[in-house]
């Protein structure tokens, strides 16, 4: 897949990470004490909020680094639009000239092939018409 499509996919992947992780953090966050309320009960042991947070942070940073690496892999843009269009026009003209040359060479080659075939037919005719000489022993 080309680099631009990979960049687009990576941007979408980062957006999905942000969305999912914020939702998971909000869902699994333990209740907070407000004012003089009694202390909230501890969260169930299965939910490791801190561990999850570390994992999520690692994943987000990794995604950002991948995005940076893909941006670095973009080819250097040599020249603007006008220069590219000029190069395209030059290549098209050159292509057309070579195509015409190729066509003329092909025509000449076909003519030569026809001549060679004619010679071959003459040789074969000569061989076929030539009387066989058998030595009587």
């Amino acid at each position: 897949m080309d680099v631009v499509s990979q960049l687009q996919d990576q941007a979408n992947h980062m957006a999905s990470l942000f969305f999912n992780y914020v939702g998971a953090l909000q869902r699994d966050a333990p209740p907070v004490r407000l004012g003089d309320e009694p202390p909230p009960p501890p969260p169930p042991p299965e939910v490791d909020v801190k561990g999850q947070g570390k994992m999520m942070a690692t994943a987000v940073v990794q995604a950002a680094k991948t995005f940076d690496a893909l941006v670095g892999a973009l080819p250097v843009t040599a020249g603007g639009e006008e220069e590219q269009l000029k190069r395209i026009a030059e290549l098209q003209a050159e292509n057309e000239a070579v195509a015409n040359e190729l066509q003329s060479e092909l025509s000449a080659m076909e003519a030569e092939l026809a001549q060679v075939r004619e010679v071959f037919h003459l040789v074969v005719d000569h061989c076929l018409r030539k009387p066989k000489v058998v030595n009587a022993k």
Binding site: D2, V4, L7, Q8, A11, M14, A15, F18, V22, L25, Q26, V60, V61, A64, F67, D68, V71, G72, L74, P75, T77, G80, E81, Q84, L85, R87, I88, L91, Q92, E94, N95, V98, A99, E101, L102, E105, L106, A108, M109, A111, E112, Q115, V116, E118, V119, L122, V123, H126, C127, K130, K132, V133, V134, N135
Partner: protein, 234 residues
């Protein structure tokens, strides 16, 4: 009337048949009236095709401007709308020559910073989450707009690459053809015994024959005399 399992073909196929020739052939072969009727063109064929009534009608001209399809209006010009036209703020500098790499990396850093701020806001001031989410959304839209702006450049670069590959292949084919022609000429000169004495002389033919084959045919014929004698082969 026989029933068919398949629907009949659309009637446009009749526009692509030469009914005149079919009709004349039908009369010459002495086909039955039923067969002749089948090959006759429709009565309106003359109106559709004009003077050349057995030719299909010209295709409609290409559409320009806007057109409506299934209730939706579409345009024929593919232009990437600017962020201002979409009602969004542009975060990178405006201009024709934008440094895509630099701006994408800056937006990536900005995105991480805004995500951290969102996490902080959710802890300290949860009611103010909307502004942070809006900022993150704006950064993502700017990133995608930059990437979309790269596509025309990518298309032009791809086209340049394709043209270069095509040019290289054509030049290689041309060189190969020329080499093969020279090889063939060398072989033919070698096969003509009379030409061995005059190898260095350039051959000039009367009719501009590049290989001068016709001019040497008689000599070749004489040179082959006795070349295939049976006693020699045995």
């Amino acid at each position: 009337m026989a029933a068919s399992a398949y629907p009949p073909p659309p009637p446009f196929y009749r526009l692509y048949k030469h009914f005149k020739s079919d009709e004349e052939e039908g009369e010459e072969d002495g086909r039955s009236d039923e067969d002749a009727d089948k090959t006759k063109g429709p009565d309106s064929a003359g109106e559709i095709g004009g003077e050349d009534w057995d030719l299909p009608p010209q295709p409609p001209p290409p559409i320009t401007g806007a057109y409506v399809m299934y209730g939706q209006t579409y345009g024929t010009e593919d232009v990437l709308p600017t962020l201002e036209e979409q009602g969004l703020r542009q975060l990178y500098p405006k201009g024709v020559n934008v440094d895509f790499k630099k701006e994408l990396k800056a937006l990536n850093r900005e995105l991480l910073f805004n995500f951290l701020e969102l996490a902080d806001v959710l802890v300290d001031r949860p009611s103010q989450y909307a502004r942070r989410i809006e900022d993150i959304g704006l950064i993502f839209r700017n990133i995608h707009h930059l990437l979309n702006g790269l596509r025309p450049h990518q298309a032009r670069t791809t086209l340049i690459h394709i043209l270069e590959v095509q040019l290289k292949r054509r030049k290689e084919a041309l060189a190969e053809i020329r080499r093969r022609r020279e090889e063939a000429k060398a072989l033919l000169r070698g096969a003509d015994p009379s030409s061995k004495e005059e190898d260095e002389k350039p051959k000039e033919s009367k009719d501009g024959d590049p290989l001068d084959i016709k001019g040497d045919l008689m000599e070749l014929d004489q040179g082959l005399e006795g070349a295939f004698d049976l006693p020699k082969l045995m």
